[in-house]
């Protein structure tokens, strides 16, 4: 399992250009964020300019990986070993992150122009930069220290971004999120402490070799698991998520729901695959919780009156899909085929959901912005006036529902197949129930929007690019269904 995360020695050393690309990917966002804090962009074109080198760095890394396979970096600073690696999965996640952050950044100027966000708005840029760097680092890092640093950076940046809107409910929700995130990190740190104390090293590759199942590994896994579950909003620990999104700015929500919580999920899976390669029950606990998450999140989204809560609760349910796949990835005696299927399905689901959720938040944001209403009932008649936003919402929700030909569908197909091979019928039931529940809440929203009998509002016109960006994201999520071969191919290669 650990080889799938690229925890083995690379054959080739990275080229110089690759070094530069890495540097750009990790540092450039910080620079640009700082710059933007000084000179906040009023239009989208500066953002476009800034994103070109960034995306180029992602592209260079992709090409480098395709040419050389796994790439590794290692530095020793004052007795500390920091190491990074670039495998197919990290390239995929890195590109996803860059795309979504760029999209969010492009969306932001238009959003600000329409909302009059107040004096704090300029701080969004550096925080966004930090979040992007931290996320990129998480996908690349292979030692617990770097991961910890990146996790904390990301967490703080996320909290900061979420609270910038400055309203009281946002602050309250943000405060809760802040405290819980910090406590989660400390719990994680406690687990790391145990690992460090027992094995005396922090690099994952080395740990993967030395760690044997035993009480320390288990305790560490439990602590790390609980801490990261809190940060990833896994089911019983998810409750902080919805209020946070309820009041946050649209691009921030898109980033957070799409990427930030996924980072914790990624770390959880990565660390557990090292610590608990052959446990039977722990992944199942997560999966059962995932089952509950699907149902609970779906019900929450179904009964809610607020559009943003709907979208946020749907994240809870969608994370359930990922959780349900845990027993297929971790545990003893999993045949290679279902494991491979589940692995690909898991990441496809994650990536697809990231794009779709970002698009959905943007579409929801657009609808709210244009109608000035936060409730579903306020959407009445939007199908006539805001067809494009609604279409984006629809395309994104196809992915969430897992209807073909979206990436959600392909991922679900693979997961289902893996579940059927391993005879996990309850997981099958969970996935299928999830589809229906998702459809229930999505179409509840559409039902309101198709209502032609409601009185007409005055609609605020949207900035030209806002729907377009969301549309691109949604279409990406959609197209990844049929073109799943390309991202998944990235993850095929690279076994030692």
């Amino acid at each position: 399992m650990t080889w799938r995360f690229g925890l083995f020695d690379s054959t080739f050393a990275p080229l110089v250009s690759t070094h530069w690309a890495l540097l750009v990917a990790l540092v450039f966002p910080l620079l640009m964020g700082g710059l933007a804090a000084l000179f906040p962009p009023k239009r989208a074109w500066p953002v476009v300019l800034a994103s070109v080198p960034l995306l180029a760095s992602g592209g260079v890394l992709l090409i480098a990986f395709q040419e050389a396979g796994l790439l590794g970096w290692q530095w020793e600073i004052a007795g500390l070993i920091l190491s990074l690696r670039l495998n197919g999965l990290s390239v995929l996640l890195l590109l996803t992150t860059q795309c979504i952050v760029v999209a969010a950044a492009l969306y932001t100027p238009g959003h600000f122009r329409l909302t009059e966000p107040g004096p704090l708005a300029r701080w969004l840029w550096p925080l966004m930069g930090v979040a992007l760097s931290a996320l990129s680092l998480i996908w690349l890092a292979t030692d617990l220290l770097t991961l910890y640093i990146a996790l904390e950076l990301m967490g703080l940046a996320a909290v900061g971004m979420l609270m910038l809107s400055g309203k009281a409910p946002a602050l309250l929700a943000g405060m809760r999120y802040l405290l819980l995130a910090l406590v989660g990190s400390l719990t994680y740190l406690l687990g790391v402490a145990l690992i460090l104390g027992q094995w005396g090293r922090l690099d994952l590759q080395g740990l993967a070799e030395v760690i044997e199942p035993g009480p320390v590994a288990w305790f560490a896994a439990a602590l790390i698991g609980a801490g990261l579950a809190l940060k990833a909003a896994l089911f019983p620990l998810h409750a902080w998520l919805t209020p946070v999104h309820e009041n946050a700015w649209t691009p921030v929500s898109a980033l957070h729901a799409g990427l930030v919580i996924k980072a914790s999920m990624f770390m959880l899976l990565q660390l557990w695959s090292i610590l608990l390669p052959d446990t039977f029950y722990a992944p199942r606990i997560i999966a059962w919780l995932g089952l509950l998450a699907i149902v609970w999140g779906g019900l929450l989204a179904w009964r809610t009156d607020s559009l943003k809560t709907l979208v946020a609760s749907s994240t809870v349910a969608q994370l359930g899909y990922l959780m349900v796949a845990f027993p297929l990835l971790l545990g003893p005696d999993i045949a290679p085929l279902p494991r491979a299927l589940a692995w690909e399905g898991f990441w496809l689901q994650l990536v697809g959901h990231a794009f779709a959720k970002a698009a959905m938040f943007m579409a929801a944001g657009n609808l709210i912005l244009a109608t000035g209403e936060h409730t579903l009932k306020g959407l009445a008649g939007t199908s006539r006036r805001l067809p494009l936003s609604l279409l984006v919402f629809g395309i994104a929700s196809i992915t969430l529902m897992g209807l073909p030909p979206s990436s959600g569908f392909t991922a679900k197909w693979m997961l289902l197949e893996a579940m059927i091979i391993t005879q996990q019928w309850w997981a099958v039931a969970a996935l299928l129930t999830g589809t229906l529940l998702t459809a229930a809440y999505v179409f509840r929203m559409f039902r309101y929007s198709f209502d032609e009998t409601a009185p007409r509002h005055r609609y605020q016109p949207l900035a030209p690019g806002m729907d377009l960006i969301a549309m691109l994201l949604a279409l990406t999520a959609f197209a990844l269904g049929l073109l799943a071969h390309f991202p998944l191919e990235l993850m095929h290669g690279g076994s030692p």
Binding site: G381, S383, L403, P404, F409, M414, L416, L432, T435, F450
Partner: protein
């Protein structure tokens, strides 16, 4: 020579139209109309090309890999071309009709966009070569028809849309489960493979039966088989062209076509017989036929009556599948087309009555034959076809079904057919009587509910000519069923492919 571009172009034609229409502004009526009709004509030309290529024995395949062991495949085969031909022909008619029908109403861009998407889905369903591809377009169809069903945006329409989704999405989930189970058992199974699933019979009899039940029950929702038909009569609140499309081509036919694919191309007819599922199918279809007719008799309004008639008629196709033997198959396949033609005519007529005279209820139709003779003649042709009277196309299929049933020694099927004909007569003949033999507002007795003078002729030309065209085609399909490339001939060609090695 493999013309991979052909299936792809056929699919892309309507997809691109959908995208273009969404991109155009609402006001660009003329351009939209041009694009719509142009694309429909192009589609017909493409389908004609396909027919020629299939007749010449070519097999054009377009495919690419989605994930390991799972491909997206479009293939032109005789059965698919049949469905594609139906949908492209009726697309043209319905588009023209819809342009006339929605003249001056709101949300036309959305309507035509999803309309095109809906047709693209049916083409995809027709050309899909494995269950995965089929499923993609099947669900796409569900989604693209929802906005059409709720188009009017009234409370009733929205409720109908909800019911529609409840049924179809649940069915989609069941279908998905069946598809994944099957994929798991057999790997990627092409519809074109000759073997069928016979190899798995010995070891996985129960599983195969289970998968069959899952697949068919998933498809049966769209095919509106009792007791899964509840959405169809409710979906009647949609505008007439939508009802026409839903009933004649897109949705119910997609379900029936899916069952055809499952039985003939996926399982193989021999295996289906071996599993014994086919008799169950025939029984279920018979129940649906009788139930639908009985409910139709009780209806007071025209469109629900036609809806229940659809419930009943579509199951003829299923019944034909349930009859083992070439005649049953020919009947099923031919009815796929015939019912489409006749039902679309009937719905066009119902729409015309509603638009021109405001008629919704059956008892308002007295003497409408004088006021709208062409519409009423078309309605008469459709109704007679539904009853199964010659020379309308309905007779041809009824004949083949009956003969097939006799040859399969399922004598009760003949009783069902005769009973169904009689019941159909019981609800259609009174309407015809009202149309032609009762004095009504056009004879100076009372007045029409809401009369509009839409055109120089009895109604708007855009509404009139598609209907006349489909009526003539359904008449011609019966009268000249023996011509080459007629629906019957094509059905026989497909059936011979199924039964002859």
């Amino acid at each position: 020579m493999n013309a991979a571009w052909l299936p792809l172009t056929a699919l892309a034609t309507s997809l691109l139209v959908a995208v273009t229409i969404f991109a155009l502004p609402e006001e660009a009526r003329r351009l939209r109309t041009t694009i719509n009709i142009g694309a429909a004509v192009v589609k017909i030309i493409l389908v004609t090309l396909m027919v020629r290529r299939v007749a010449a024995g070519h097999e054009d395949i377009f495919s690419f890999q989605v994930i390991g062991g799972l491909d997206f495949v479009l293939r032109i085969d005789a059965l698919g071309v049949m469905f594609a031909g139906l949908s492209s022909l009726l697309w043209l008619c319905t588009t023209i009709y819809a342009i006339g029908y929605l003249e001056g109403s709101a949300n036309r861009k959305r309507f035509f966009g999803f309309f095109s998407l809906c047709v693209a889905s049916t083409i995809g369903i027709a050309l899909a070569d494995n269950l995965f591809t089929f499923l993609i377009f099947y669900e796409m169809l569900t989604l693209s028809t929802y906005p059409l069903v709720v188009h009017r945006g009234t409370e009733q329409a929205l409720n109908a849309g909800r019911v529609y989704l409840r049924y179809t999405l649940s069915a989609g989930v069941v279908l998905l489960l069946g598809a994944v189970l099957l994929n798991n058992l057999t790997g990627d199974q092409s519809f074109s493979s000759e073997e069928g699933l016979g190899d798995y019979l010995n070891d996985h009899r129960g599983l195969l039966t289970l998968i069959f039940i899952l697949l068919v029950s998933g498809l049966a929702v769209k095919a509106a088989m009792v007791p899964l038909h509840g959405w169809l009569p409710r979906a009647m609140v949609a505008p007439a062209p939508v009802s026409a499309l839903l009933h004649a081509v897109a949705v119910v036919k997609a379900g029936a076509f899916g069952i055809l694919r499952v039985v003939y191309d996926l399982y193989g007819i021999e295996l289906s017989v071996e599993l014994g599922v086919i008799t169950g199918l025939a029984v279920a279809a018979s129940i649906t036929i009788i139930y639908g007719s009985l409910r139709a008799i009780a209806q007071q309004e025209l469109k629900p009556l036609l809806a229940f008639s659809t419930v009943s008629q579509v199951s003829y196709v299923i019944l034909g599948i349930g009859i083992f033997g070439p005649f049953g198959t020919v009947g099923a396949l031919a009815h796929l087309l015939h019912q489409g033609l006749m039902k679309v005519t009937l719905f066009f007529c119902a729409g015309n009555y509603a638009e021109e005279l405001g008629i919704h209820r059956i008892d308002e139709m007295d003497g409408a034959g004088k006021r709208m003779p062409l519409t009423s003649i078309a309605f008469t042709i459709g109704a007679l076809g539904m009853i199964g009277l010659p020379p309308v196309a309905g007779f041809i299929t009824k004949w083949y079904l009956g003969v097939g049933a006799i040859q399969a020694e399922m004598y009760w099927v003949v009783a069902v057919l005769v009973a169904s004909s009689t019941l159909n007569a019981m609800y259609f003949l009174p309407i015809l009587h009202r149309l032609w033999f009762r004095p009504g507002p056009s004879h100076g007795k009372g007045s029409w509910p809401h009369e509009q003078r839409l055109g120089r002729l009895e109604t708007h030309g855009w509404l009139l000519w598609p209907m006349v065209f489909t009526a003539l085609i359904s008449l011609g399909a019966g009268l000249f069923a023996g011509l080459p490339y007629s629906p019957l001939d094509w059905a026989a060609r497909v059936a011979s492919g199924e039964y002859l090695p």
